[in-house]
Point group: C2
Chain length 491, copies 2
């Protein structure tokens, strides 16, 4: 083991290096190397030298990772997901490149050589075992595949992370093709791998000792709109139970991150649903509450996304929580095979949806990247039922979540089954487009319903009902109004 | 067994009946019942009575199935795929409803109750076994799930179909959730089920004896443009071999239906690729040629889609072909789990793609349904590499296959890896949107490249490079030009 400081280890990194890092929604990212690399970039730039790396992670990281690197112009390319305000600005200014990918595709495409040779894997650990293997900290993400693919490995051992996290991770390697066998997970709680990541220890060039917290953002208190959305979501679930398509016992959930999803989980706490299981991407406060209340038996994910208060509790009580929480490689947590097998109900947020149920999760007004698709596509396409939850309005009513034509499409009409706002739920299953439009307009904010109805009238006028009626001349009128008049309503 | 004529059996069918039928790309559909139901509808309409059914199939059928039913206004609702000219007209005229679904979702959603109770399954058989089980004819499609879900069963035994087809089908039931286990297929050639569909014989209300050919459309001779596209596809494959991402031995293919895919298969015949396997939706002439030439070891699909000449050969030599051809339930042939496991290269046609690689497979100018998404989404999302092949022009140059903004999106930028025209291939893997646009414009027809470049300039002007540059005011200008001036080029 070669113990180095972050600054010393950063000396290994050259311009153009391709680096796979740990890190997923603010958890388990390396705490020293990003800043050290950013400093190295700044020094190089001050000398007039080029210095920028290609950075691959699990998902978003934190201001002291994505933030410092973007600010230092130390990134040439980034994939598969980010949510950093500085990075977002750089991407939209055309100053760095970003490939917004399905998370379940990311490690696979690195392993299969679509991104060329990976130079470094920089991975946080809770500890290193006697054999030199890595015990994951607060998330697994793409670590396994990046450690396998990289020429050199740098490990950050973070003493802030509880050593009791050992035993929470279930490290299963998805086999390489064409000799792949089935992933042997049948239920969300199945453990099929090891508690550590075995690595080629000869590739380790540095071990860095750190003691820094994950970035954990507090959730806002649940507001009235979120509560109404959660209520409508539960109404939908009750309808499924009444229709014989769902049982109160053993509901399998997936949930996107945010305040509305947290309100949904708070709603489940007081519901008739019991023995809930999560097969999802990240462990959130609401799931911890469900576990503590005895409503959730197991939560499987790839990482944590907790508030500071809950992260502290997790660190203190990891030995207890590891009985009911499993962290898996992202390629397993988000794998179509397992998602479809366990029959989960997917619930994700969105930017906007159109009247036919096509969903935009990524680009505001078609052009400006917000964060990325993340795992929403993995879960939406393969879920038993796939839902999106959204307030009907944004920006004090200037923006409608329901528009005539989504300005970017990440989830198509073929994938989106239910859309839920504070005005109800649009159950689109088995409907032809014209019937979908009626349901979608009914959950739009009342201020926007007449404008959406006028669009449908225009689209179907002049003897052209068509299968999916559109009036292409005014399909983006809401977005053009927003750009020109500051509101989708127009002048 | 209650042997009846089609007309007699049609007496069972009432207005509003929900019917699951066999039939997939013109193969294995019932030959008598559709016409008998259409006649019954016409008689009812003549009396002034309502009569229309909801029809679920595997995919498209034939003029004497979808065609006669649509013409008689005997359909209220149709899913999951169609390609019939009369039906298309009725859908676009708003006279019947159509839900265009991922084929892999269709039977599952029926089984899980999203469409309510199924009244009838009407299924063609090559023969009925002594135990009363069904030996599939030229395809399996959604038969298993429809037979399981329906209250009543009507079987058409078609003596035109070779009895030697027995042994070709591999009937595996995807288990119901939440107790589903892995589908035990590792390689395209694995057989994991029975050669017949076991049914509840008490549900059989009629057996009809028929002797009618499948609808088999001849393929056009390979034209120059198709040949150039096939050449570019093979160049792409050669590049993958050179890059160490693909081997000449054991390439697993999926192929959409049509003349360009057939040109690709003809190209493979003369290539260095050996021991090719197909894990695909339909068996086409090109695969039969590859098998006969010893280049393809096994082809797994759900159905045939052969020319009349090849269908005749298949019927004559079914005993030989069943050694290397497997027909599976659609839910297995198109299952994300197996598709992703076998690591296939997906190749499908399209209507148009935009400069960022979003693909429209279904709606012309955003509104007018052509056929449907079929299995293209199942394979594209889960393939090892996912490609689309297209001539750069349609309608004598009035239509460009590459447009600024796809007028309907079925496959998003996150799924589409390679687009191939007669002008080359656009390898979009790992690229940020602005770089994708350059590659896409390079494979557009030279007449349209300047117009596409002008669009990108407009979209990036006024200090707004953005992540995915769009100028929403002119995003559909190509389509508006087509509507107003008869050509996407404008006046």
């Amino acid at each position: 083991m070669c113990f180095l400081s972050g600054d010393e280890a950063a000396e290994f990194i050259g311009h153009g290096a391709k680096i796979g890092m740990s890190g997923f929604t603010g958890a388990a990212y390396p705490k020293e190397m990003p800043t050290a690399i950013a400093e190295r970039a700044k020094e190089a730039h001050a000398r007039g030298d080029e210095f920028a790396i290609d950075l691959y992670t699990g998902a978003s990281t934190a201001p002291d990772c994505d933030g410092v690197l973007a600010e230092a112009d130390a990134l040439r390319f980034r994939m598969p997901y980010q949510s950093d305000p500085i990075m977002r600005k750089k991407i939209n200014a055309g100053e760095m490149k970003y490939a917004d990918m399905h998370l379940s595709h990311s490690a696979q495409q690195v392993s299969e050589g679509f991104f060329g040779k990976l130079d470094f894997a920089i991975v946080e650990a809770a500890r290193i075992t006697e054999e030199g293997h890595i015990v994951p900290s607060s998330g697994v993400g793409n670590n396994v595949e990046y450690l396998d693919a990289a020429d050199k490995i740098i490990i950050e051992v973070n003493s802030w992370q509880s050593v009791d996290l050992e035993g929470m991770a279930d490290v299963y390697r998805v086999q390489s093709r064409p000799n792949r066998t089935a992933i042997p997970i049948k239920n969300p709680g199945d453990r099929v791998g090891t508690t550590y990541i075995d690595i080629d220890t000869d590739k380790v060039v540095a071990v860095i000792e750190t003691d820094s917290p994950d970035r954990n953002s507090p959730f806002k208190p649940i507001d009235d709109v979120s509560q109404r959305i959660a209520g409508n979501f539960l109404d939908f679930l009750e309808g499924e139970v009444a229709g014989g398509r769902l049982a109160y016992d053993g509901y399998v959930m997936q949930s996107g991150v945010g305040n509305v999803p947290n309100a949904v989980m708070a709603g489940l706490l007081d519901s008739k649903f019991e023995n809930i299981q999560a097969y999802t991407e990240v462990i959130q406060d609401g799931m911890v509450d469900l576990i503590d209340a005895g409503k959730m038996t197991v939560a499987s994910a790839t990482s944590f996304s907790l508030s500071p208060e809950y992260a502290e509790r997790m660190n203190k009580e990891a030995a207890r929580y590891r009985e009911s929480i499993i962290t898996r490689p992202l390629q397993v947590s988000n794998h179509p095979e397992v998602i479809r097998r366990v029959g989960l109900i997917a619930t994700n947020g969105m930017i906007e949806a159109d009247i036919y149920g096509n969903v935009n999760s990524t680009n505001v007004s078609g052009s400006r990247i917000m964060n990325g698709i993340g795992g929403s596509g993995d879960f939406t396409r393969n879920g038993f039922i796939s839902s999106f939850i959204t307030p009907s309005l944004a920006k004090d009513g200037a923006i409608s979540a329901i528009v005539p034509f989504a300005s970017h499409i990440d989830h198509t009409e073929h994938d989106v089954m239910v859309v839920i706002s504070e005005y109800g739920y649009a159950d689109l299953r088995g409907l032809a487009p014209r019937d979908r439009a009626k349901k979608m307009i009914a959950i739009a904010h009342p201020d926007y319903r007449p404008l959406l109805e006028e669009y449908v009238e225009r689209a179907t006028s002049q003897g052209r009902p068509m299968h999916t009626p559109h009036d292409l001349a005014t399909a983006f009128s809401f977005h053009q109004n927003l750009a020109e008049h500051g509101t989708m309503k127009g002048k």
